[in-house]
Symmetry: C2
Subunit: 523 residues, 2 copies
Amino acid sequence: MSIQPVLIDGQWRASRQSGVFQGENPALKTALPETYPISTWADCDAALNAATSAAAELRTLPPERLGRFLDAYAAAIESQAEALVDMAHAESALARKPRLADAELPRTANQLRQAAAAAREGSWQMVTIDSKQNIRAHLAPIGPVWVFGPNNFPFAFNSVAGGDFAAAIAAGNPVIAKANTSHPGTSRLLAELAHRTATETELPAGSVQMIYRTGHADGARLVADPRTGATGYTGSREAGLTLKSAADAVGKPIYLELSSINPVVILPGALAERGEKLAEEFTGSCLMGAGQFCTNPGLVIMLAGETTETFLANVSQRFAAAPVNTMLSGRAAKALQESCQALVAAGATTLAGGAPGGGAGYSFSNTLLRTSAAHFLRKPAEMQREAFGNLSLCVVAEDVAQLLQVLAALEGNLTGCVYSHTAGQDDVVYDRLIAALRGKVGRLLNDKMPTGVAVSAAMNHGGPFPATGHPGFTAVGIPAALRRFAALHCYDNVRAHRLPAALRDQNPNGQMWRCIDGAWTQQ
Amino acid sequence: MSIQPVLIDGQWRASRQSGVFQGENPALKTALPETYPISTWADCDAALNAATSAAAELRTLPPERLGRFLDAYAAAIESQAEALVDMAHAESALARKPRLADAELPRTANQLRQAAAAAREGSWQMVTIDSKQNIRAHLAPIGPVWVFGPNNFPFAFNSVAGGDFAAAIAAGNPVIAKANTSHPGTSRLLAELAHRTATETELPAGSVQMIYRTGHADGARLVADPRTGATGYTGSREAGLTLKSAADAVGKPIYLELSSINPVVILPGALAERGEKLAEEFTGSCLMGAGQFCTNPGLVIMLAGETTETFLANVSQRFAAAPVNTMLSGRAAKALQESCQALVAAGATTLAGGAPGGGAGYSFSNTLLRTSAAHFLRKPAEMQREAFGNLSLCVVAEDVAQLLQVLAALEGNLTGCVYSHTAGQDDVVYDRLIAALRGKVGRLLNDKMPTGVAVSAAMNHGGPFPATGHPGFTAVGIPAALRRFAALHCYDNVRAHRLPAALRDQNPNGQMWRCIDGAWTQQ
């Protein structure tokens, strides 16, 4: 048995492992050929040492060097698109086209290029200069960043190529990637490209490293290690909270994306006006990619009435008629089944689906559940259990007051959507419910499903706990995402020639926006 | 016995208390006349309910209303300066002049006015607009903010008047102040002024509230309460970490300023060039206000040599000759004694002071300790124990390599200072040591003691753990300090008339800086 090596300190080398695992093809339920190591602390320790050296060296390089690496890596990914798509498809069962080849891979390259531009331009640092008192501050690299990527985006959130990776590198930090166990082969191919590109563009050896998996205790240890700067984690709530607890205890920043059911409120005027279209739109958003999106609309809230009953019947038919997609893994299918059972046990009734199978490989039928607002309010915690996949729970409220109570009982979420009549018929209700909903979500949408997360400077892919660990940061959107991986550095009376280039009187590139004596300027 | 009332929901009312306490005059070691309540959870609960209502109402008010309150409150404080200074002097033993009347009170009013201007101007929100995709984001009020003020600034960091209070209100949040136990009377006078001003300027009833003290369990409960938005805490490391643990467990932001020994490196060229001046400067910084500053220079690091010995002898004489100031409380004096004993027990030798007394009331002699770098490196944790007060530990390194090891062994600090030869004689060493020091501190200074914390937009009164809980935020400096008490709110495809004024196409006041399609503008 040949075990895949890990990428540490600029070398692919044998892992000091405590065990091995294999990938699996979820559509065929068969093991994939390669064998990957479960790293011991020795690997983590070696990676942390190399990253510490790299962090010191990266701080001395001009941002152009980071930009060159990120741009070249984007091109390298595009040049190997076919092999990457084949591997990701085999490991995730996500469609080659359009999903992997036409959407996710280009998005990934685009994110890397946006990050390259942000690194070069430099405005992300939020340079602030008080020229009278000669005090200057900016956001500076925080040090080695661990990235734990999720299972549902083998490219765009991959720990060695995705959004957190791009943001951490662009902010000037080395990354130690912890590959997601469900797509080790895709991560390996990406890491090979990243390593080759880092070598060609002469980044320090420990700038990009990757291990595949660790034991739980080592995971908690590495996020809290003194050498660690910060951690980006996207994944399950339980594992995330364990890491958060370890990192918080020693004040190490950890940015988590944990769980979100993304409430969608559909008001009566919208249903009366365009119920058929909304049923189609909602079905598409909920079932796409077997619903395995952080922003999947898992909770729909409506007012009781004939149009609501028509909508529910319509969506039920659509769910039953739609093809059932394969899930990302056996674990994902099992977790969805457990969540569905828990929701039904808590009192939800099944309008469509509700059973395993129906598609190729690991799958779970397209599932629509229903409950009353009164019942939801009796068991708000149980009813807000995230069912990650092609399942949504519809809550029917008797009146606006009850609908507001449901909103008030919500935990923090990434998104909240409201559909309303286009001519303003629902506006009085809208104003009342926004007061309850706005503070519960990171991104508020009108007349639009939450599943599209544009890579925009104004995006917020974040939200109050337990959607994330802190409501002030976003995981998507450049340059804002870079600010997670930075520390605020102030220079008070520091001699001019000792200042970082970004803080000198002279704008380092004529493009960086800096706030000087209260005014933002490129001068 | 008449017990002072607490300020809840716009009323001074009897506390539902579990006990009482009195203030104390630390210069006379006598109890002050008033009796203050220790609140039970009933008070906290009532305050949280009122703050929740106030938060909802504050969100609907134009920022001008916050500005009006903050400006009027600043004027009210100035109009009652004499009474405030008398009370603060009685409770803290800080000098009436210049400290309280000429420095701290004006600073407090200035902070409130800066916060008023920031609230009106609005740039703190960091509005970001992606006009092509119609995605818009800004920082919005986070909800009720608890402020736990420290003992050492009865005005400028007072929980109902200081920096955290001003920042939280300016960001649009209600504040529930937890007064510091060592100056309840000053807090009462300030809260009376704040309450009167809030009534006159028609803020919602629960916008400014204050209780004096709670039990430990209630403290942990309130920072984690679902109604709480965030907490600002300045105080002891032990109590702060208990609160942090409770808040972190449920993802409630908590901003802490815990402990810092503020390393000062004095290089040989600087000592040779201006040793006498540096001895004077250091002595002033260390002994001012009995050294009870978060940024007190508690650790001095030097290279072995004749100039260093001269400096140490000079400072020892100055420490012995300088008057011994009264400390803020018996607890503060006792804590300093314990820290001094612990440092000596760990191997430090006493060059000056080292014993209780020497001044009026609660006091501890001006104390200078010394150790070798080799010894420091054997017990880095013990040797970094914060001794809050008029005490500093000098570490003498044999060579530059050893000095770098000491820096590498440091925990996170608020500040780090380097004194070097003005003509560049120390520059080679400077470059090497900055690589070790920069990441350990929030604010780096040259040729300047750390005790002055200017209220500047570029200030960082923050730093890596355990100086604070997160290295990306500052407690001093406007507008940056406001961003702690905010959540990132994104609007995706939200209809134009439903957007907050700050996010509409039209700049709401023609002054707010907004980042539109990548360019900062006031248009």
